[in-house]
Amino acid sequence: MDFAFTPEEEAFRKEVREFVDREFPPKWREHALDFFSNAGGPYDEQWSLHRAMAKKLGAKGWLSLAWPKEYGGRNSMLLQHILAEELSYYRFPGLDPFGVGMLAPMLLKSGNEEQKKRHLPGIAKGETMWCEFLSERDAGSDLASLQTRAVEDGDYFVINGQKCWTTAAHRADWGFIIARTDPEAVPNYRGLSFFLLDMKTPGISIIPIANMAGESEFNEVFFDNVRVPKENLVGGKNRGWFVVMGVLDFERSCIPAYGIARRNLDDALEYARKTKPIASALRNRLAELIVECEITRLVHYRAIWMLDKGLIPNYEAAMTKVYGLEVNQRVTATVCQVLGHYGVLTEGSKWAPLDGQAPSRYLRSIGNTLEAGSSEVDRIVIAQRGLGLPR
């Protein structure tokens, strides 16, 4: 085993840190930015900044690090992960989780050459922002039961139905959607197809949903005879389930939980150092969380290492997500506890420590174990695929 980074990897991390240090507008440093909420923050400027920084990241070639060399990548999940870890630690925007994290691997695996040529460059350059239409109100963990329909009509598929919890739908340029093309298929997941969707297509209406942290990332989206050209069908008709599932393990590995959690923890540690002595139980708790963050980091590099070796992390990928995000939930809760009474003060209060962000980060973290496949699903993956327990 080897827990060290190569000099090249260390140099890359240093380059990222210098980039962040140079590019981060001072007024945003301590502000509401967050790896998760660039689309939902209270400020339009935040999204503009996200777009601007995406272009800068793209110009560095950093949005396609994991891609094969023939598509302009460096074929390294490790570099992509180092990038994500650093950006999330510094709460630096610009990394589109839907384009870079989800769609690109789907296209690379299931798209045809034309689709790759058309859509990958926009992602790599940070010019096109994506959103994903998977969940519906009654189809979350049980995704295969989704009801949105797509019906063939000449050179088009016509989509009708509604999707829910779509992050950034109100901001994105393009979306990818999974819809039912064969309502008779048994089992039901064999009747689904996967499409790329220009968000300017007529018939799409978007209703924002604010989350409990007060951010408006989510949307409910209605499709009324939305016409998608057939060239935007990915992976073939009724093969949509396999497009999605084929990269699930990859996607589960893409959330940089360590960077997010460790930064939140460091905020609490810094506060605690200034205000010590803190309650001894909290001191103990913070020490536990230091260990939990380190384990989050290690568990994640294991999955990344597997991907770069050409192995498929299945339970290992699920573990990065469920463990890392639960750790972040524990961290954000503990940050508030360390702040005590001050932990209920929000942005705008002159008495609020940590720029008043502690409560909203705590509230926001509740969503982490619900979105992108709940913790329950991840645990079942670990039990069934990792340990071979029966379905």
Binding site: R137, M212, A279, I366, E371
Partner: protein, 377 residues
Amino acid sequence: MDFSLTEEQEMLRKAARDFLATECPKKLVREMAKDERGYPLELWQKLSEVGWLGLIIPEEYGGSGASFFDLVVLLEEMGRACLPGPFFSTVVLGGVTILETGSDEQKQELLPKLAQGKLLLTLALTEPSARYSADGIQTKAVQENGSFLIQGTKLFVPDAHVSDYLICAARTKETGIPEEGVTLFLVDAKSPGINCTLLETVVGDKQCEVTFDNVKVPRQNILGKLNEGWSVLEKVLEKATVAQCAEMVGGAKQVLEMTVDYAKQRVVFGHPIGSFEAIQFNCADMLIDIDGCSFITYEAAWRLSEGLPATQEVAMAKAWASEKFRRVATISHQIHGAIGFCEDHDLPLYFKRAKTWEVNFGDANFHLDKIATMAGI
């Protein structure tokens, strides 16, 4: 032993639940979080009319003469309903303090008005150190020409922005022993030198920063005896802590009911999620947490109501409610999934209150430390 409410208490509970269902819908709760006053004046008037502002005030002072335990029954319902407004500060923090230590003259003057909804009170206790121990009181009051001049900053004072009087705990003597030399002053909120600023909080409850810049208070506005305020505060804090627990118990019960209803009705993979073993275990744990919090809260409330020593029971109740309401609300979110994560769902109202109420009157660590000290370890 008797684990049932009296018939009157059952009626009070039902009346409160019905009243609050009508008068305090969640829409109002959400509006009031953004409202500067924080409650509708009409609602306050109605609370007076049904007799709840004067619930524990003796009949001779215009109240109903009910017990502290009766008040706990009512507060549990208010916690269930997330009632906004200064009920807690006026009735518990203000009313209890005056009942504990006011002179007959002060009671005659203040309590009838309080019961009639014409007087709002609060307790200005905590300061930037945010501590509930005697050494947290650093605000000073110095005597000058038969009056006192108060100087200092109080923080996290609930509803000070609407209160007519602030009961301010200030240090009138330095003896080196923090419990000595604290005096309670009844301060007219309109006195010159008082500056009140609303704090931005996660719940949108109305906590304030109140600065006292040489605020002049006449000597007759001392509540209780000069320099002997801390022992009164200890009693008031015990009742306030249990009152807070009662709200938390009510909130937690409501959360569990919402969760069970949702689990029965939400269908995934062809079955209601409430039939899944893991969800059943979660819900069972929630009920265990809630029954535990209820009984320990009721025991503490009963002891206080009976005038028995209750220091340990109060600490137990708050240590437990602080942890368990938060845990119940967190599990409920996990069961509700995305729908409960939306701002306009009711669940976040409780999740946020669980956080806020956790720290009021001391968090779990504060109270566990007390319990350990009492156990001699």
